[in-house]
């Protein structure tokens, strides 16, 4: 009877030890497995995102996107387009046989928080053109289809017929004030897993309109101006 009780106790002890051992052994195994499964899910999600991005990037026509960027930079530049603006205005007015002068420039603030107004900045520019009514009308049309993109803010017209020049011709003097726009480029690309936004049909149509803007090359003086390096050996 005594042996029996001892045997029962041994049995219970053995069972308890076994359960304890199982918990000790199974705990870490289950923990590690759960952790690995979570990592696996995360890696699969990351892999899907990267594959999608990589496929999207491979599908982009590099030549076309480069051409568009180049044109966008001409039409809607990243920096103040002072030189391009003056050059374009003087060249359009010359094309339309208009006198060009009375230039006033408001360059705006020298540095601006790029996040302000969605990073969009403008440059106000005033000038005066004189010529025939029709030429000024065409000039105003040209203005809105010329790079850099600009908006006519104000036009003040003085329309007069000059009998000394011609009885038919109407001489117009227009004081025009325009705003040219620029927007700094984004500072970074973001995380590598950030999905790549693709262009919609509307975006494509808008980008195609870029090529309707006429561009004029900025005329930069080639003659030496200002200080020169006296010690330069001209190598």
């Amino acid at each position: 009877m005594k042996t029996n009780i001892f045997y029962d106790k041994k049995l219970i002890f053995g069972a308890v030890v076994m359960v304890g051992l199982m918990i000790i052994v199974f705990g870490p195994i289950l923990g590690r497995l759960t952790e690995r499964l979570a990592v696996n899910r995360q890696l699969k999600t990351e892999m899907t995102k990267l594959t999608e991005k990589s496929t999207a990037l491979s599908g982009i026509d590099e030549i076309l996107v480069s051409q568009r960027v180049e044109k966008m930079e001409e039409v809607f530049p990243s920096q103040k387009p002072v030189v391009q603006l003056i050059s374009s205005l003087s060249q359009i007015s010359a094309q339309r046989n208009l006198s060009f002068g009375g230039v006033t420039l408001k360059p705006g603030v020298l540095s601006q928080d790029p996040k302000a107004k969605g990073g969009l900045s403008d440059l106000e520019f005033g000038f005066q053109v004189g010529g025939s009514f029709n030429d000024i009308s065409l000039f105003l049309n040209d203005l809105e289809n010329t790079a850099p993109i600009m908006k006519i803010d104000q036009v003040s017209l003085a329309i007069k017929s000059d009998p000394l020049i011609s009885r038919e011709e109407t001489i117009v003097t227009a004081d025009i004030s325009v705003s040219a726009y620029f927007q700094p480029p984004p500072q970074s690309l973001g995380a590598i897993t950030t999905p790549l936004k693709l262009l919609s049909r509307e975006d494509e149509a808008l980008l195609n309109r870029l090529f309707n803007f006429a561009s004029f090359e900025a005329v930069i003086p080639t003659a030496p101006t200002g200080k020169s390096d006296l010690f330069g050996v001209g190598l």
Partner: protein
């Protein structure tokens, strides 16, 4: 002589207990075996998942390298996307302004001197200037009234003032609302 087994009941009870003990041991042994098999299976599965993770990590690294190589294309695409919203808005505004500018040029008769005009985003033009005589003023008003024939979408017009200027001409101030969204 009749043999009476006084231990029969006790022996039966003892046998039953022995069998129960054996069953318990067997059950524990079977349980341990099942758990051991389960442990091996879980460990195996865990190893398979670890292997998969390693393979995925390698693939991810390869994809990242591929994306890194395409970074110039990505930066150009991001640049275009970042500029498109603002560019679209500017193009729309420009179209409105162009419509207004064209409208003003179409409405004005020759010999009109425009002292100024202001245009609001809604297409409201405040015209002020002078004309040399009444026929020219009538021509201007007639053009505004029959603007549809000239292809100018004038929604409404209001003559604010008309007066004779010191130079002999006629000064005018007119508000014209152009339907820029039509």
């Amino acid at each position: 002589m009749v043999e009476i087994n006084l231990y029969a009941h006790k022996l039966q009870k003892l046998n039953k207990k022995q069998r129960l003990k054996q069953l318990t041991w067997k059950s524990i042994l079977a349980g341990v075996l099942v758990l051991a098999v389960l442990m091996i299976a879980l460990s195996g599965f865990s190893l398979v998942v670890a292997g998969q993770n390693q393979a995925l990590t390698d693939k991810i690294e390869a994809e990242k390298a591929k994306i890194k190589n395409l970074e110039p294309v990505e930066s150009k695409q991001v640049y275009l996307i970042s500029k498109l919203d603002a560019f679209g808005q500017l193009v729309k505004t420009q179209e409105k302004h162009q419509a207004v500018a064209e409208a003003v040029f179409t409405l004005l008769p020759d010999n009109t001197s425009l002292k100024g005009f202001q245009v609001s985003e809604e297409g409201l033009i405040n015209l002020s200037g002078s004309v040399p005589d009444y026929p020219t003023l009538l021509e201007l008003l007639s053009r505004i009234a029959n603007s549809r024939d000239l292809g100018v979408p004038v929604v409404s017009a209001k003559v604010n003032s008309i007066g004779v200027s010191t130079g002999g001409g006629i000064d005018f101030a007119i508000d014209v609302l152009i339907g820029v969204n039509q």
